[in-house]
């Protein structure tokens, strides 16, 4: 792909992340993926919540909505239902999506809306200066957990699998080329797609660093993984330790919500006309 294509998605605003932050890799990956799919920026809506990671829409040239902490998914859902022609991508953090936003995350997956959700998973609350996040491993010490976390971390991949997501994947900020392919597949996938990204917070997480991940990362497609097997996917979602898989865990086809909704059979909502103001039609039932 030519750099000029990626430049299409270059915003005038420069990212303000800490030097080395994993989120740079995600931004690069998303640009590249959009370039691969050659989507016109006007047809992309990037929605986010609040967090370092949620600042991403400001650094990407497309339409965007930088909403409230934890509420990106419902905003994106509403936008997608209103204009199903848009490519709706949600970008955010683990706190935003797996913490405060967890309920929305699970519910959107059972709906199978055609939305791509990219979570920059760094195990901490970066923007609020480093408290524990739901993916932090047991024992992790932060400002808000000085004795070490005593909760089990969320397993977002497993959660997505049992919640009905039709595309479940993982990427790593240290490998934006691989990530771009995963994101491109996710966007292309008709239905809800999750891309959980190991995106190191170089400032507040000294455990889950690039150095931690790099030797452990193993690509699913290089290990003969069957992306159509839910069972295999669940099993692999628990792999942690010496080998941590990235790539596509699971992909299946199920009609999207947009395809099944009766009203959307007549095309995107915003292209549909208001109802005719005919008393015969509108008032009869009240006689």
């Amino acid at each position: 792909m030519a750099t000029s294509e990626i430049a299409t998605y270059e915003s005038e605003t420069k990212p303000d992340w800490c030097p080395g932050c994993g989120d740079f890799g995600v931004l690069a990956g998303l640009k590249r993926a959009a370039g691969i799919l050659d989507i016109d920026p006007k047809d992309i809506l990037v929605v986010s919540g609040i967090g370092c990671s949620s600042n991403l829409p400001g650094f990407f040239n497309s339409y965007g909505f930088h909403g409230l902490h934890g509420r990106a998914i419902p905003v994106a859902s509403g936008a997608k239902l209103a204009n199903s022609d848009l490519n709706v991508v949600v970008t955010g953090g683990d706190g935003d999506g797996y913490g405060i936003g967890l309920g929305h995350f699970i519910h959107v997956m059972r709906r199978n809306l055609d939305i791509t959700y990219i979570v920059m998973d760094n195990g901490v609350y970066g923007l609020t200066t480093g408290q524990v996040a739901p993916t932090a491993e047991k024992g992790f010490k932060t400002k808000s957990s000085p004795e070490g976390v005593i909760e089990m971390p969320i397993n977002p991949i497993a959660l997505a699998l049992v919640s009905g997501a039709t595309f479940v994947s993982r990427a790593f900020s240290g490998d934006p080329i691989h990530m771009a392919d995963v994101i491109a597949s996710a966007i292309k996938h008709p239905g809800f797609s999750l891309v959980d990204v190991f995106s190191p917070c170089v400032t507040y997480n000294k455990i889950n660093t690039y150095e931690f991940y790099r030797p452990r990362i193993s690509k699913l497609d290089q290990t003969g993984h069957d992306t159509h097997s839910m069972e295999a996917a669940i099993k692999r979602s628990y792999e942690w330790g010496q080998k941590i898989p990235i790539g596509i865990f699971y992909q299946t086809e199920r009609p999207t919500y947009e395809a099944e909704d009766a009203v959307l059979k007549n095309g995107p909502l915003i292209k549909q006309k208001p109802v005719a103001r005919d008393p015969e039609i509108l008032l009869r039932e009240f006689m």
């Binding site: 006007k42 829409p57 339409y63 409230l68 209103a82 009203v263 208001p274 109802v275 509108l282």
Partner: protein, 585 residues
């Protein structure tokens, strides 16, 4: 006590006995006789086990509330008599199934006619069909001198298909009840003219939903919550017919954020809830204010605090609506005063939302949302759709500034998908381009100024919107001794009280507020400054509107009728209070 020119009926029964739907058919019977009709339904949270009742008032003249007194009590279950018998006006009637009140047991009032019908026995031949209600309504039809044919048309509307057994049996039962009544009872002898020109009969929620689809609402999201749920039910039932996408969300946080997302993408979007759900929505309403997204939120209030009495009414959430979400941001609050006005207010709300690119809250309540009222034929065309300042999409997109500083504070809005006008709508403070300034820019002198200007830009819109916010005119006598001040749904009882007092030669008038925020203080001061004495009438404990009025105009109303027991206000309560205040008692 009902006047000669009106009839008030109350139907009571155990929850699950169909009291409400029996009442609704009586209401339809009235409206199809051409009567102005109003109902009030009292019910509880439990699906079974409680006692429900519905009051129906009809008159050839316009009526404004459920009214006072009772001409006829229709008894569906034995406890109904215990609870309501004493409420029957002298000369009134109690109509009951002989088996529910054995031999008219305990019906001892001399000034009330006891009319028993062996409805259970009469109904036996229809097997398990719960048909006693229909028999009783048949009897009532005769008692009110109404037409059986019209009742049959109502039964048809309710049970549908003309040839179904259930339709046929109900018609037969109605006929039998009518005949029994004719043979055994004298009609009530009210002298009412029936025109037989059917009137539109609907609830506030019906009118609001109808108004919304008429306004081009394309996206409706909700999470069930009494008394807003019936909007959801109506919308869902009409979703394909009117092409409105209806989405039940996982909670109110999702619901309001979905509506905002849909609105951002260009669809007219609405959601509705009650107090508790509104509390959850409040953060996102601020988001709509900050991102300048037009969205309509209905808050149908019920008795609080907390879960409170989910099936009872209150006007207790005004402070919550005023204070919704942190800091100051543009928002508009409208409180429709009648069922009819619910229709027009929905239209207006969408236009105001688009015009000022801000959230608009429609403040309803259980009483207004759920009671049936006849409305004069709605003028469907009176409020044309106006989508406000949309960016035309011409010119070079590079100059496009979503949050441009303008004279009015309103900036042209582009819609995602439009070529060349990309922008990010941020909940963080931002510059004209929508670039967030909270991350690395705030605190630097230039951006301190931009922050202040952006705040002023947004709030400027509310100064302009003030032109659209109307003060109520004084309704009633010019030289009244006293002015009743209310807002929203209390208009009905207040109007009826004014009329009743007039009958007694006491001249009062009323100022009923609909436009609550931004509060048109100057105009309101002008109106109220003409008044001799003020009496505040509100359905809450603390007189919340009184606080708003005082805050913005300095007018502190000393005399107050505040009701917070869950029941709607009755005209007679206002009459009593007025007399007390002006020293007539």
């Amino acid at each position: 006590m009902p006047t000669e020119n009106e009839v008030i009926v109350r139907v009571g029964g155990a929850a699950g006995e169909g009291g409400a739907s029996t009442g609704e058919s009586i209401a339809k019977l009235f409206s199809r006789h051409g009567l102005h009709t109003i109902t009030y339904t009292s019910y509880q949270s439990a699906i079974r086990g409680g006692h429900n009742w519905i009051q129906i008032r009809g008159s050839p003249e316009k009526v404004y509330s459920q009214g006072d007194g009772l001409d006829l009590l229709l008894v569906l279950s034995s406890e109904t008599a215990d609870i309501h018998y004493s409420k029957i006006s002298p000369g009134g009637v109690i109509l009951y199934n002989n088996e529910k009140i054995k031999n008219g047991e305990n019906l001892v009032r001399q000034d009330v006619k006891q009319l028993g019908i062996p409805a259970t026995e009469m109904g036996r031949k229809y097997g398990n069909l719960p048909i006693q209600n229909t028999i009783l309504v048949g009897a009532l039809t005769h008692l009110l001198g109404m037409k059986l044919d019209t009742l049959v048309s109502v039964i048809e509307t309710i049970f549908g298909k003309k040839k179904s057994d259930i339709f046929k049996f109900n018609v037969e039962a109605a006929q039998e009840g009518y005949n029994y009544s004719q043979q055994n009872f004298q009609p009530l002898g009210k002298r009412m003219n029936y025109t037989f020109t059917p009137k539109l009969l609907m609830t506030g929620n019906n009118a609001l939903a109808l108004g919304a689809v008429t306004a081009g609402c394309k996206f409706y999201s909700a999470y069930p919550m009494t008394p807003a749920s019936t909007i959801l039910h109506w919308m869902a039932a009409h979703s394909t017919k009117y092409s409105v996408l209806v989405k039940q969300g996982e909670d109110e946080l999702a619901v309001v954020n979905m509506a905002i997302g849909a609105a951002h993408a260009g669809a007219r979007a609405m959601c509705a809830t009650s107090g508790g759900g509104f509390a959850l929505m409040s953060e996102a309403i601020g988001q709509a204010g900050m991102t300048e997204t037009p969205v309509v939120i209905v808050e149908s209030q019920r008795s609080g605090p907390a879960t409170g009495l989910p099936t009872k009414t209150e006007q207790g959430d005004l402070l919550q609506m005023l204070g919704a979400g942190q800091s100051d941001y543009p928002k508009i609050i409208l409180a429709p005063r009648t069922v009819e006005e619910c229709f027009y207010t929905a239209n207006e709300a969408f236009n105001l939302a688009d015009k000022y690119q801000c959230p608009v809250i429609i403040a309803s309540d259980l009483y207004l949302s759920e009671h049936f009222e006849t409305v004069d034929s709605l003028n469907l065309d009176s409020v044309p759709i106006d989508r406000g300042l949309l960016f035309d999409g011409n010119g070079d997109g590079r100059d496009y500034k979503r949050y441009q500083f303008t004279e009015s504070g309103i900036s042209p809005r582009a819609i995602p998908g439009q070529p060349d006008h990309m922008f990010v709508a941020p909940t963080d403070e931002h510059d004209e381009n929508g670039v967030s300034i909270s991350d690395v820019l705030c605190g630097i002198p230039k951006y301190v100024e931009i922050r202040a200007r952006m705040m002023e830009k947004r709030m400027k819109k509310m100064e302009i919107a003030m032109q659209d916010m109307k003060a109520p005119s004084l309704e009633g006598a010019k030289d009244a001794e006293l002015t009743l001040v209310g807002w929203g749904s209390t208009q009905g009882p207040i109007k009826d009280a004014v009329l009743a007092l007039e009958q007694e030669g006491i001249l009062v008038n009323s100022a009923q507020f609909k436009y609550l925020w931004p509060f048109p203080a100057e105009k309101c001061e002008q109106v109220l400054s003409q008044c001799k004495k003020l009496l505040l009438v509100e359905g809450n404990y603390s007189g919340q509107f009184g606080l708003l009025l005082a805050a913005l105009t300095g007018i502190r109303i000393k005399e107050k009728l505040l009701k917070y027991d869950g029941e709607p206000i009755y005209p007679s309560e206002i009459v009593t209070k007025v007399k007390q205040v002006i020293g007539h008692i």
